[in-house]
Subunit: 222 residues, 2 copies
Amino acid sequence: MVISRRRRGGSSRPGKAWSLEGVKAKEEAGMEKVNIGTNPFLLPMPMVIVGTCIGERPNFMAVGWASRVNVRPAIMSVAIGRHATAEAILKTGEFSINIPSVDLVPQTDIVGMVSGSEFDKSGLFEVFFGSLGKAPMIRQCPVTMECKVIRDVELPMDRLFIGEVKGVWSEERFLSGGSPDIEKVRPFCLTMPDNRYWSVGPAVGRAWHDGIGLKDRLPRLP
Amino acid sequence: MVISRRRRGGSSRPGKAWSLEGVKAKEEAGMEKVNIGTNPFLLPMPMVIVGTCIGERPNFMAVGWASRVNVRPAIMSVAIGRHATAEAILKTGEFSINIPSVDLVPQTDIVGMVSGSEFDKSGLFEVFFGSLGKAPMIRQCPVTMECKVIRDVELPMDRLFIGEVKGVWSEERFLSGGSPDIEKVRPFCLTMPDNRYWSVGPAVGRAWHDGIGLKDRLPRLP
């Protein structure tokens, strides 16, 4: 491991001191580490559509900030700004996460552009419900899940809703071995700030498998 | 909007009642909604490597459950099980998020397979530090960020660490217009339970743009 000078002695050039060996050459090659501010966007962000009920009306919103957060029970998180969707989740304690395929790019995009407080977005999709009464799901989405809020965390601009998954819905045609098959589901991702949607490309490896050859290189700790 | 019978009257066939028109045909075509349990994995999950310090030793762990959670300031979340990495974050209050390219699949994979309490994983990478003293970053990763914990949420099996981004680091060769360019960064995603890594494919649309044509179809609310 090459440790940075800053780490050892506190260089005034954070992010640069690592390249003690040949910093010049790396600078010339554009390989110098540069600070690009504090506004990262994790790439790629999986695009989902969050479903809620505003009163009796199903409402949908495109969300790029969703993640699994617990193994068992399955728990998901979605980060949502001060939108009608956040109000609805606070009122009902329920929401759905719908995974759209690339065929639904325009529909996903528009539900991220207009507010459920101004427009009725329910007509864009065929709606179905599972076990929860206020977590409307989208039939056109290959994989959908209904979530019950177990925690919510207020952040400076957004609110993080943490919901236990009460049911996951799909169709046989999207499954392989009983699980959703990404090549059949064909989800897509969002990148910002260039604001583009991306398909999923070819497989590049097997998890919990491709790294095993490196294990011998790792010193075992005393 | 086609609303499900369950929604209206409480059908005993959740996820089926939506298809009032021609449920038979859809069943035959394998288009019937089926409940596949409660163990979804959001597809695709962006793969990152979380960096921490165990004492003075940099440690790294592959994480698939990371997300942006707040706009300004930039705040990220990572969900981590009962691992050495979680202990380290609890002790130091700092961590890094490193975005590996497809060239780093094996290295990413192995740091997700062995524990930092048994093995010294620091030698796999060239390490540098930014403004935080306990958030080691990986020079080989095209985009890295250093985070300071502002909140952590204990969940049944995992702990969700919420960290404010204090600095993002990259190299000119990975940027376009000052921001990371996904086609230059070449990140990859994880799917479970098939445990495969996937590259990012061709662009399929423009966000906040491709849906605008559907706006006229949305009834404006009174």
